[in-house]
Subunit: 284 residues, 2 copies
């Protein structure tokens, strides 16, 4: 099974963001929920296992449910746990510190849909919130995992950065309501990374002078998993590029423009997500 | 000529960012320059008009040239002015406050290459630096212009925000060294926007339930100009969508995911840029 078959780690509740920041996220969620007409969705680490079972919602999610959306007893909601679990329920009881949700059905397990994109990017030395932005956008766009690459020209990443990024992912998962959390892997150097490239049938390496991405894509089949590779500010060394190409990475050009690490990553990820959406969807 | 034929406004030098922030940008530029082997490129509002003429470089660009890249007399450089002018020169003289560059050729005027993408997004009410990110990334990705849309659910944008965004554009143009500045247009409401949609042959409206973008694209021809339309956090109203569709906007889906305004904009722009790169490039 290897890298791509790894089980998603259970949701870990890291330090929560403060209310004001979360309210900002909430405003976006609540209006999106109202305008789309879908059931409002809330995160809970544990879900009722079957119809009729009850789970308690407290903290930020309770605040959002009762103070922002102003839901009440008998209102219907959806609960998700970040590892594929999803269940429709209704509010049975509300007290000062929490609400009780009764499941209206057995909890479903939704498997991830579409191509699972795994991002490997050398963002360890980015400053000024740019790594946060990269991680938040990868989460919104549905990347399956992100792994910081350690390369000759970007060979560090701070430990407290990794903790912080885990919190960014958790907040973004709740805000965009994706059913599966995005995995943040430990940092990896190129030599450890090469076997993953070799194992992947679709590995794209962002490279300045390479064939445009959309000349490469139509010639390839659709796979379950794909890999994106983005180098650091100073770029990969020639040796690193050579090693990855020999392991099977396909160089793809992102055009005649000078893109920052996070911009190259999100552009390439966006293009691949949107392209694979169309491959998967029925032709209309 | 209308909207798409408008001349680029001349470069305006708004308040410069402080040295430390600029140094951050510079590090990215300098290592990118060194790794690619191209001549280092510097911004100058005025360029020598013909071979042999001299222009003086001062301030931040002079700092970067002499203190960061440590260039000296006789080193060759490129100068650009942000409105398509480009000239190769060499350093003739360096003193305490500036350097003199002599043109080695007549100044070239480069016309914009490829499809010119015009972004219309309702980002006026975004908080927390998100509008800055949107503008910076649009600049890096080569969008021709950005216009804030005023809609029913996002009907304001602060005046000081517009000034700030102009500075963000200027810094990003220098950092990514694009030859033409990105135009930031005054805010526009939907009714003023409809004639622009009607005039455009390629207007894409990001819409939740629409046909996937890459089902729509292959059926369209390549144009000189295109329009991207992204609604606010609370989405466009049904009436707004109807009016834009009647004016010729093509709804395109960005997948089964809940994207923030800036994420939807950058994803759609990235996919369109990369797709039109491949249309323009010779098949390899």
């Amino acid at each position: 099974m290897g890298f791509f078959g790894a089980t998603m780690p259970p949701t870990t509740l890291a330090a929560r963001s403060s209310f004001p920041a979360l309210l900002l996220l909430r405003r976006a969620r609540s209006s999106a929920n109202r305008s789309r007409g879908a059931l409002p969705r809330f995160h809970s680490p544990s879900l009722p296992s079957s119809k009729g079972m009850v789970v308690r919602i407290q903290g930020d999610e309770f605040w959002h449910m009762t103070r922002v959306l102003r839901l009440g007893v008998d209102d219907r909601v959806e609960l998700f746990n970040g590892t594929g679990g999803l269940v429709e329920g209704s509010i049975q009881r509300i007290d000062k510190t929490g609400s009780e949700i009764v499941a209206l059905e057995d909890t479903k397990t939704i498997t991830p849909q579409g191509v699972q994109w795994h991002v490997f990017a050398a963002f360890g030395t980015l400053k000024g919130g740019r790594a946060d932005w990269l991680i938040e956008k990868c989460t919104e766009l549905g990347a399956s995992s992100v792994t910081p690459l350690l390369t000759e020209r970007s060979h560090t990443i701070g430990g407290n950065r990794v903790d912080r990024l885990q919190r960014v992912i958790f907040a973004a998962v709740k805000q965009c309501q994706r059913l599966h959390e995005m995995t943040l892997n430990p940092p990896m150097n190129i030599s450890s990374f090469l076997p993953i490239v070799a194992q992947s049938k679709l590995s794209f390496l962002a490279a300045a002078e390479a064939t445009p991405l959309f000349h490469v894509l139509p010639n390839l089949g659709v796979e379950d998993n794909g890999v994106l590779i983005v180098g650091p500010e100073g770029d990969f060394t020639e040796e690193e590029v050579k090693a990855m190409k020999e392991a099977g990475a396909i160089p793809v050009g992102l055009g005649p423009r000078r893109l920052r690490v996070e911009t190259a990553t999100i552009s390439l990820l966006s293009a691949l997500m949107l392209w694979s959406d169309a491959q998967n969807a029925e032709t209309q």
